[in-house]
């Protein structure tokens, strides 16, 4: 098979194979190429975009791109204001998303997001073998063989960025009669109907919000009360843009939000009868509906990877992973994109990282690419030295502005090793859970964290050689600018001790 421009990466042997052309696969491929790691990237889709080729249905994305940030768009710190562009080393390839939006909202529409990803591919010259479906996997010596619709790919490392994309419905009797979220019809088709939505996560509330003006009645139902992001101080829970149904319920406007488990769904003729048990008290409740939609989530389409020994867990069948997103049970198999949310990290105060969204997954992908290059191919990335007298300012600047730290709070950290012989060396962005658990050389890492009151502050982790890291929380600041004299004094005092006075 020849390497045609429109059909690159023919079947054969590659050091790495990346599967998927959504944001996770594209970001991983970009950084593998940047590091000089030869690889193939294949995708079952005909074009880039992954899930953004289809979802979300009615609404704009939940991730913002604020066109007018306080720094130029090609500045790294602008990434905090633009959650949707992929990362690039070349300034001209950064911040593509805001150039494609029509200024009507800070949340891009689905077509705008799809175009954003296609433009990234075009501008960076990434090549993908589209319409090439991964179908099976087997071991091959120290590596793997990925069987695809185009033939076999042998590789030392396989990276799967296939999303959490396979519709999931509970095994409760009658759910087979319900439509899944992905099968939702046009809004007009629900005009005047009684709609029952199983599930109170964002997808359920997205549908309810989009169908408020059409449906006669909407019932949202799941066993526990919905969480709201404004209450959890994180992206955990229903986002602010989808809480109109909550207000409609409060005002008695034809929306009902039930805390109940669904025992079965009966279908007698056209309408449905949903039999529920209230979570509070267990009382039985029957709800009649014309349409039932299961907004009950998705599972990872990992095909036969579990047969290969890849351990999976939970309702989404996420793979069990290390802190560098490598399978915990099969070395050489990695995961990128939204699947990365299977790595919990520190999860302080129960707040998850944003690995399920582009603005978190893009940093995970870059960090993973560096790790794969170093671990499997011996490619070391640059580790510039830092003047001891500058370390405190650099750390506080990172805590104030670094998009990795703000997008992945308590999850990714900026690290510097404190080797007396080599001086202070920039170790880059690292998974925080790995930093605090690995016994390495003396080092410091800084992260941004939110506590249970919603207070946002830097956290410093100092590791002395051969000893576990010690946590110190720095002060919060009303405008989130941590470059104050107080912060300098607090951090300087911490570092002066561990560097024997090298850091003043």
């Amino acid at each position: 098979m020849t390497d045609r421009p429109d059909r690159p990466y023919p079947p054969g042997d590659y050091p790495v194979v990346v599967v998927g052309s959504g944001p996770g696969g594209l970001q991983t491929s970009y950084y593998l190429r940047h590091l000089g790691i030869d690889h193939a990237i294949i995708s079952a889709d005909p074009a880039p975009g992954g899930m953004f080729r289809r979802f979300p249905f009615f609404q704009r994305l939940l991730s913002w791109t604020k066109p007018y940030g306080p720094v130029p768009r090609d500045d790294r710190f602008y990434e905090w204001y633009d959650w949707n562009s992929l990362l690039a080393e070349e300034p001209e390839n950064r911040a593509i998303m805001p150039t494609l939006m029509d200024d009507s909202s800070s949340f891009p529409s689905r077509p705008e997001m799809e175009l954003n990803l296609a433009t990234f591919v075009e501008r960076t010259g990434l090549r993908v073998r589209y319409d090439c479906r991964w179908e099976a996997t087997r071991r091959d010596g120290e590596g793997f063989v990925l069987q695809t619709s185009d033939g076999d790919y042998r590789c030392k490392v396989a990276i799967f960025a296939v999303g959490i994309a396979e519709p999931y419905k509970p095994d409760t009797p009658g759910f087979e009669h319900a439509a899944h979220y992905v099968d939702t019809g046009s809004p007009e088709s629900y005009a005047g109907k009684r709609l029952f939505i199983a599930g109170k996560e964002n997808s359920g509330f997205e549908l309810a919000t989009g169908l408020l003006q059409w449906a006669q009645r909407i019932v949202l139902c799941s066993p526990r009360p919905q969480k709201l992001s404004v209450n959890t101080h994180s992206l955990l829970g229903v986002r602010a843009r989808y809480i109109q149904p909550v207000e409609d319920q409060i005002l008695g406007g034809g929306v009902f939000i039930l805390n109940a488990s669904i025992n079965r769904i009966d279908r007698r003729g056209s309408p449905f009868r949903i039999m529920c048990s209230r979570s509070e008290g267990g009382a039985e409740l029957a709800v009649d509906a014309d349409e039932v939609i299961a907004a009950t989530g998705f599972v990872c389409p990992l095909l036969d990877l579990p047969d290969l020994g890849v351990s999976v867990f939970g309702r989404s069948k996420l793979p069990s992973m290390t802190n560098y997103w490598e399978s915990a049970t099969v070395s050489g198999i990695y995961f990128a994109g939204t699947i990365g949310q299977g790595v919990s990290g520190m999860k302080k105060y129960g707040l998850p990282a944003n690995s399920g969204a582009v603005h978190g997954a893009r940093y995970n992908a870059r960090t993973m690419a560096f790790h794969v290059a170093q671990k499997h191919f011996g490619v070391e990335r640059a580790r510039p030295s830092v003047e001891p007298s500058r370390l405190v300012d650099v750390l506080l600047e990172e805590a104030t502005h670094a998009p990795e730290l703000w997008n992945q709070k308590s999850y990714l950290a900026r690290s510097f090793s404190l080797d007396p012989g080599k001086g202070i060396v920039d170790e880059g962005i690292v998974p925080l859970a790995d930093f605090v658990d690995v016994e390495g050389p003396a080092a410091v890492a800084i992260a941004v964290e939110t506590d249970d009151t919603g207070d946002i502050h830097p956290a410093v982790y100092i590791r002395e050689e051969g000893r576990p890291a010690v946590e110190t929380l720095l002060l919060s600041q009303a405008l989130h600018d941590f470059r104050t004299a107080e912060h300098r004094a607090q951090l300087g005092s911490l570092l002066s001790g561990v560097t024997a006075g090298a850091v003043p």
Partner: protein
């Protein structure tokens, strides 16, 4: 260990901590707590670190270590993390996985409301904590 919704509720019904709950209540527990997985050798609770959570082991094993010295092991059905949350103090021990771990997790700030919503769980937790205290006292004697 990927469990279906029904299998997860079945599993919970077999754990002593949740033994007094009805099926709808077990379903609510399954929705309130998140499933997580950790590789061997990872610390789940870290001595002196803030913002910890409450964990119930579904599969696997952890070791409780103080100053690097192993004091106990916990397995399926056991729970940990509640002491630190209830006292509002960072953990005084590390909890480290000795086998791949599959747990249910609840963020620290949610534990009080969870226990108030499910008094039978609170009672079972109290009994377990009393037993742990008794065992510690007996060893000291």
């Amino acid at each position: 260990m990927a469990l279906s919704a029904t299998q997860l509720v079945d599993t919970l019904s077999g754990l002593s901590l949740f033994a007094d709950l009805s099926r709808p209540q077990l379903e609510q527990v399954a929705h309130k707590m998140s499933e997580e997985s950790y590789p061997v050798g990872q610390r789940i609770l870290r001595e002196g670190f803030t913002g910890t959570g409450f964990y119930v082991i579904l599969d696997g094993e952890v070791a409780i270590k103080i100053d690097g010295e192993e004091r106990a092991r916990l397995q399926k059905g056991d729970f940990f993390g509640e002491m630190s949350i209830l006292l509002g103090e960072p953990p005084v021990a590390d909890v480290v996985t000795t086998r791949q771990l599959h747990v249910l997790h609840l963020g620290g700030p949610e534990l009080e409301g969870f226990l108030r919503d499910h008094p039978p769980v609170m009672y079972r937790m109290l009994k377990t904590m009393a037993l742990r205290l008794y065992n510690v006292s007996r060893v000291r004697d």
